[in-house]
Amino acid sequence: MTAAEQNQPPSLADASDEELMEQIVAGSEAAFAQLVRRYQGKITNLVHRFIHDREQAVEIAQEVFLRVYLHRKRYRPSGRFSTWIYTIAANLAKNEIRRRSRLRGVTSLDKLLEATGDSGGFFADKRPGPDQAAHQHEVEEIVMAAIHKLPPKYRDVILLRDVQQLTYEEIEQVLSIPGGTVRSRINRARTALKEMLAPILRRRTTS
């Protein structure tokens, strides 16, 4: 718990998201501050995984909270707050992807290829890696590039499930798709990723 949270009256820190939203609608700025603190990391992460650009992710995450605040009266307590805000965040992020591909016609794969020179070289395991952190970073780049090579519907479920670790039920609501579809997409997306990442995984499972 951060120092700021300890300074909150206990009622706010202990309040559920839905209770906070009620107080926000009633005009409590402290409740809004609490809600932002509670979700800023998750939302920034989610957006970052979608658009793969940290600075822009922070910007969009702030816009998510802006929209939550401006449209606070539209929130219906019958639904969970978390799925409401994740839906706003995922949709804003996906619109950003769309805007970018319109503007530049590029995908995040370009970034990877720029960053690592060529993917074949990376996978050729010629980096015994004195610089573990740099290696970790490159693994992350490869994994994200692989995720972004999935068709959007598979990319979305894998980001929400395996990166953000939302429940199946939350994913159903965020993406507005039935549970059976969520399951089958996760299954296919993982299988596809496993194939794409096989060289990395083989090393991990044999070492």
């Binding site: 990391g41 920034t44 995984r49 401006l70 591909s101 290829l113 693994v139 993982r190 596809a192 995984l201």
Partner: protein
């Protein structure tokens, strides 16, 4: 248990979704089937890899920035545009807006179906498993370069895409996967349909079938 059933259950196992009986049957199969056991191990490692991706920190001053945006928006200095609907969603919204009587609406949809269906049939007739070299996919709205456009048309035209074919139990999925994998791993660049060089995977990304809704609708937020 068949290997295909084991593959299906592996995913549920990772998410703790299986019943005790299913889990037991799966474990029994994995003990007897080295191929499935290896696949299961790699699937587990893959999910572990994804779970282990480091978090990004929103940074200090996040809340203050949000407050400032709110102040600016309320003062009218910052326009928060509602994301508009595009493509089919706009047509749908327009139809909804007309509040058509059911019979009229059915007729209109039927007409739309005939028009679209005719277009697809026409395309399917032209295509024999290969992408038409020059014809743009007729339902693609922002091609080229969109990360999720054109898929419907490609799928309906019978154009094969490695992902679309990546059915777990379908014969032939291995070869597609291998083709995809080898291109990704060994050839950073491949020739696209116009004959230019693009990073491997790019062409697939354009050609894969995405969500119907994702094709031409802006995702609604407010």
């Amino acid at each position: 248990m068949k290997c295909s059933d084991a593959k299906r259950l592996c995913c549920g196992h990772l998410d703790g979704e299986l019943s005790c009986a299913e889990d037991e049957a799966l474990q029994e199969h994995l003990r007897e089937c080295p191929a499935c056991a290896a696949q299961a191990e790699q699937l587990g490692a893959c999910v572990e890899l994804l779970h282990g991706l480091p978090d990004v920190e929103p940074g200090p001053g996040f809340y203050e920035c949000v407050r400032e945006k709110i102040r600016a928006a309320e003062a009218g200095e910052l326009q928060v545009m509602p994301e508009t609907l595009g493509g089919r969603a706009r047509v749908r919204a327009w139809l909804d807006g007309l509040r058509l009587r059911p019979a009229m609406a059915a007729g209109l949809w039927l007409l739309l179906g005939i028009v679209l269906g005719g277009g697809v049939a026409h395309l399917a007739g032209n295509s024999s498993g290969e992408a038409p070299a020059t014809e743009p996919a007729p339902l693609a709205v922002e091609a080229p370069g969109g990360d999720d456009v054109g898929g419907d048309a490609m799928a309906q035209a019978g154009v094969r895409s490695p992902f679309w074919d990546l059915e777990l139990d379908e014969p032939g999925s291995r070869s597609d996967t291998n083709r995809f994998e080898s291109e990704f791993l060994l050839e950073p660049y491949v020739q696209d349909r116009q004959g230019g060089l693009v990073p491997a995977g790019m062409d697939y990304q354009r050609g894969v079938a995405g969500d119907r809704d994702a094709q031409d609708d802006v995702y609604p937020v407010f």
